[in-house]
Structure formats: structure tokens, C-alpha cells
Amino acid sequence: MIFLIFAFVGREALPVILGKTNSARAQKPIAAADIPQLSADQLAQYIGVNETELKSYDADTVRTLVELKAEELQQNVNPDAGINAASWGMMFRPHQWFGYDKAEYIWQPVSEIPKYNLVPLILGSLKATLVALLVSVPLGVGAAIYVSQLAHPKWREVIKPAIELLSGIPSVVLGFFALIVLATVLQVLCGYHSRLNVFVAGVALGLAVIPIVFTISEDALTSVPRSYAQAALALGASRWQVAWQIVLPAAIPGVFAACVLGFGRAIGETMIVLMASGNATIVSASIFDSCRTMTATIAAELAEVVFGGDHYRILFLIGALLFVVTFIANLVGELVVHRLKARLEGRG
């Protein structure tokens, strides 16, 4: 199944990956004298009609249409019209577009000259994910240490289900909460300019990631054999020292795996960032600016693109990129957890 998914997402993106697409809008004007040398479908495409229509025209009409088209092409010349924005170079390197003062990363898929630079989207995804991890890792790991090592067993039975409840909340609900409630509260507290931004989206995203980080770290911490802790306690260490100096180092790969899996979840999350990040494709280092992530771009734009067009293929390319990134993150996470389990159970 997973191979099927990759195959079909990849299939749609293949022409872009191979650099076969050309989004260039410029057409060379064709002189009327060259008409006989062109094939019927080339001619039809040039004038902008289909072949059956073309057949119904007589030679004079075709000649007039060709001349009109040549005039039209000469009138609106944009110096950028000849650029293939769907090539690898244009997708990742800045370019100075006509009318801009300097080379910039721009994602503008539906303008006259489409600009498909993926850098703003990738940056947006990374920024939101970073904020999410900054929120969720300290909280999740802290809570995991507390619950597994320090808390009274009676409390443990209450706290664990409460945190796991968080993973049962649909992401669209978290997105809604971020949009309606959290955004207003955080704006009042921090006093920044735009209401929806990376920070709000990141905090909400953090809420979605906390259960993953918590569950996996807690699992790793609990699977450290009791004898380690008992030995340390017998030597006179405090419960905290045992947790910090004995149990946590033994379980540290598990905590690392929790972060990696949390990263995979955060970068792939769609609804929260779509609703709470503001969706402007700004390239900046500030987390209080609005941003547009890769997932949100797919969700917001796929419904309106031409099937099989360049824009459509590039959205699939973004999907394929996401797939590869999360695949690697999951693989690394799973491997680390597996190794750790094997070692702690004395098999490795």
C-alpha cells in the first residue's frame, strides 16, 4: 500500500522531477508564410482552438488568425515570459523577476507569469515545526519524566488518560481553537502585529505533537529496568537524581525518537497550519510573521488547479517531498525505539 501511495503521488509529480515541464508563457510569433510547414495540432495550439474547429476554417481565416496572434504577442511582452518557472533552478534559487528590485524567493502560482519557488513554503513548514517542537518537547518530555518517575501511582492513572485525550481531539478542532481562541489570547499577551502567524500555528501544532512526544518518551522511560533505579536509590540518591542521572540517560534514544516522530507529525499536519498560520508566503526569520507551509499550500490550492498542469504537478511534487521527509523521520524513529527496546530487554 505504501509503495502504491508513493508511486501514485510520485507519478503525478514525475514530469516536474525530470524537468520535462515548461511553464514558459512566451510563444514565438509565427510568420504567415510558415503556415504550410506546421502540423495541424501545432497550429491549433498556437491559435488557441481545437483541431476540429481549425479544420472548419478556410485558409484566409487561418492566415488572419495567425497574424492577429503575432500582433497580440508583440504587444504584451513581459521579459520574464520566456522563463520556465517549473525547473529545479527556479524552484529553489532566488530570481529577480521583472519589476522587483532584487532576487527573491517567490511563490505566486496563479499570476500572469507563474512563480513556483518552493523556498518560502519549506521555510514556513520548518518554522512552524520548530515552534511546535520548542513547545512540545520540553512539556512532553518533562511530563513524561514526572509521570513515569516522580508522580504518585494514583496520579499517574489520572494524568496519562488526560494527556492521551489530547490525541483524540481531531486536528481540525485544534485548528479551530487556535484560530478563534488562542490567536486572540496570544495577541493580547504578546502584542504582536498580525493576528495569525507562525507562533499561533506552532503552539497549536505543539498541542497536536505533545501526545506523541509524551507517549513515546514515557514508554522509553518506563521500560528502563527497575533494578537500575533501585540500585541508585540504595546508594542514597534522591528520586530526582535517579530520574535525571540514571533513568533518563538510559532512555535518551527513546526521547530522541519521540522528537523525530514528533517532527514527522508536525511537518505533515495540515488543518492546524492551514487555519492558524495566516497563509502568506513571506520569507523572514521572525516567528511573529505569517507563513505558508507545504501542507497548507496543497490543501488550499489543489482544488483550483488545472488537472495535469504545471501547478498541479508541482503540488504533487510538494506532496512527494513531504512523503519522503516523514518517511525518513518515521523510519529513524522506529529504528531507534526498536534498538532501545532490544538493548534494555538485554537482547542487543
Partner: protein, 309 residues
């Protein structure tokens, strides 16, 4: 010595406090979110709200209802269950009963299933569009309807199929757990009496594992009811005047409705009550389903403990 001890106590207290605080913050956030939704939503939810339609205005809190979305969600998860449970159970049976753990192919299948659970939901949406809608649907149209558009467009069928792929790991993992919990003695007794392996699985092992399969199904439904990204391009509609009547219709859905209302509303203050109401219904639905799954699983475990004596 005494000083050292004192320092250690302070440290201990400080860090215990810090981790405890982290826990408290998370729990507090859960309480705030759930409380906020319950408090604001309860004001809106009424019988009229749940059973009313959207004919009289989708954004007006006093007249809008959400019945079409509830209907759509239920239809979607039912169709999804029909797809996901048989395939998931068969895969789980293969993995526990037939596959040999030491074979590379088994490890690859297991890895693939684990990874399937981590694929972003939006990628499932792309997959649904590329595979089900365009490839399968388009293929059916070409073969049966001579190119006329019946299946080659977003429909509830393809949305359910996409969702079935998304929830597959949940069902497989839950079923596997249940199958592994069936005592080995039962299998051996059945085989010793001359039953074939297939018969043993069908008549002895599966009935024993039924609660596990059920748990998996319920968890899949709860997951499916909450996901929005995969159905955005494969079947969910912004607004429809009628309920879907056959498999090739589009449909309205609770989660997608929340997204639509909160981002497209012309007057967010007036729409807010509907939003809170819809969110409350969706959250209540998923929580109840999760709770049900937990209860079923607890019962199953208790029974197994008895059986194992």
C-alpha cells in the same frame, strides 16, 4: 556534607516542581480546550440544531442546522468501515498466523504498515485524488460509460476509500494484538481434533479475537471522523442542497464544515455559535467512540485474564 545534602534537596525540589509544572500545563490545556468547547458549544446544541438542515442559511446561528454534515460523516465512516475492516483483518491474520517472523518480506510489510501510520494526511488526499479519482475512477468511466463523468470525479465512495487506506494501520494493529492474545492451547486443541488451519482460524481464533477487531474498527471510525485533509479533494463539498443519495454523490462533513465555517464565513461573530456547536458534536462523537473502544478493550483483557486463569 550537610551543605551538599541541603543543596541536593533544593535541586530535587526544583526539578520535581519543573517537571510537575510541565505536566500541569499540559493537563490544564486539555481541560481549557475541552471546557471551552463544551461551555460555548452547549449553548448552541439543541435538537433543532442537530436535526436541522442548512436551507435557511448556513452562517446564521439561529436557523442553521448540521444534519447534512452528521449524515455525511456517518455515511463516510460506514463506507470506510466496510472497506477497511475486511482488508485489515485479513492482513492481520496473515501477519500473525501465516507470516514467518524471520523472513525479510514480513519485516518489510511490518515496516510499511508502521510507516503508513506516519504518512501526512494531506498526502493521503493527494493519493486519493491521483489513484482513486483519476486512475480507478477515470478507468471505470472509460470502460463502462464511454468517458462520461460518473466515477472520475470526487465522490463519497472515493473519500471513503481514501479514508480506509488512512485508517488501515489502526485496524491491523488492534486486530493483531487481539489475535496474539488468543491462547495457543485453543489453536492446538482445534488442530489436534483434525480441523484445518483455515477452519481453526475462522471458527476458533477469530471469534475469540472479535472484541479486538471491534476495538480496531471503532478506533478507525473515530480517527476517520476527525480527519479532514484526505477528503478535501476526494469528495467533501462546501455546500450541497441535498443529502447524498448514491455512491457517486459528493457530501458534506462535520470536520470540513468546521474548516469552511471558520475560514469562509462572511461574519465570524455570527457564525461562532454554530462553529462551537459543530465542534462540540464532533468532539463528543470522537470521544464517545474512543471511550467505547477503551471499554471494549478492557472487557476483552479482563476476559482473557480469566481464560488464562
Amino acid at each position: 556534607m550537610l551543605l551538599q545534602r541541603k543543596q541536593r534537596d533544593w535541586q530535587s525540589l526544583f526539578f520535581t516542581g519543573a517537571t510537575g509544572l510541565a505536566t500541569a500545563v499540559i493537563v490544564a490545556m486539555v481541560v481549557i480546550i475541552v471546557g471551552n468547547i463544551a461551555w460555548n458549544g452547549a449553548a448552541q446544541v439543541s435538537l433543532r440544531f442537530i436535526f436541522g438542515g442548512t436551507e435557511e442559511g448556513m452562517f446564521d446561528a439561529h436557523r442553521a442546522g448540521i444534519f447534512p454534515m452528521i449524515f455525511g460523516t456517518v455515511a463516510l465512516v460506514l463506507l470506510m468501515t466496510i472497506g477497511v475492516v475486511p482488508v485489515g483483518v485479513i492482513t492481520a491474520i496473515y501477519l500473525t498466523e501465516y507470516a514467518r517472523e524471520d523472513r525479510a518480506i514480513t519485516r518489510v510489510i511490518r515496516g510499511a504498515i508502521n510507516n503508513l501510520a506516519g504518512v501526512p494526511s494531506i498526502v493521503f488526499g493527494l493519493f486519493g485524488l491521483g489513484f482513486f479519482v483519476q486512475f480507478v475512477g477515470g478507468g471505470i468511466d472509460k470502460a463502462l460509460y464511454d468517458g462520461a463523468l460518473h466515477f472520475g470525479k470526487p465522490t463519497i465512495l472515493w473519500a471513503a476509500a481514501t479514508m480506509a487506506v488512512l485508517t488501515m494501520p489502526v485496524v491491523i494493529v488492534a486486530t493483531e494484538e487481539a489475535l496474539k492474545a488468543v491462547p495457543k492451547g485453543l489453536r492446538e486443541a482445534s488442530l489436534a481434533l483434525g480441523a484445518t488451519k483455515l477452519k481453526t482460524i475462522w471458527r476458533i481464533v477469530l471469534p475469540q479475537a472479535l472484541p479486538g477487531v471491534l476495538t480496531g474498527g471503532i478506533l478507525a471510525v473515530s480517527r476517520g471522523a476527525g480527519e479532514v485533509a484526505p477528503i478535501m479533494f476526494t469528495g467533501a463539498a462546501y455546500y450541497l442542497a441535498h443529502l447524498p443519495t448514491n455512491l457517486t454523490d459528493q457530501f458534506m462533513e462535520l470536520g470540513y464544515h468546521i474548516f469552511v465555517l471558520s475560514t469562509q464565513s462572511p461574519d465570524i461573530e455570527r457564525t461562532k455559535p454554530i462553529l462551537f456547536g459543530t465542534v462540540l458534536v464532533l468532539v463528543a462523537l470522537t470521544f464517545l467512540l474512543n471511550l467505547l473502544a477503551i471499554v471494549v478493550r478492557a472487557k476483552m483483557r479482563a476476559r482473557l485474564r480469566l481464560a488464562h486463569g
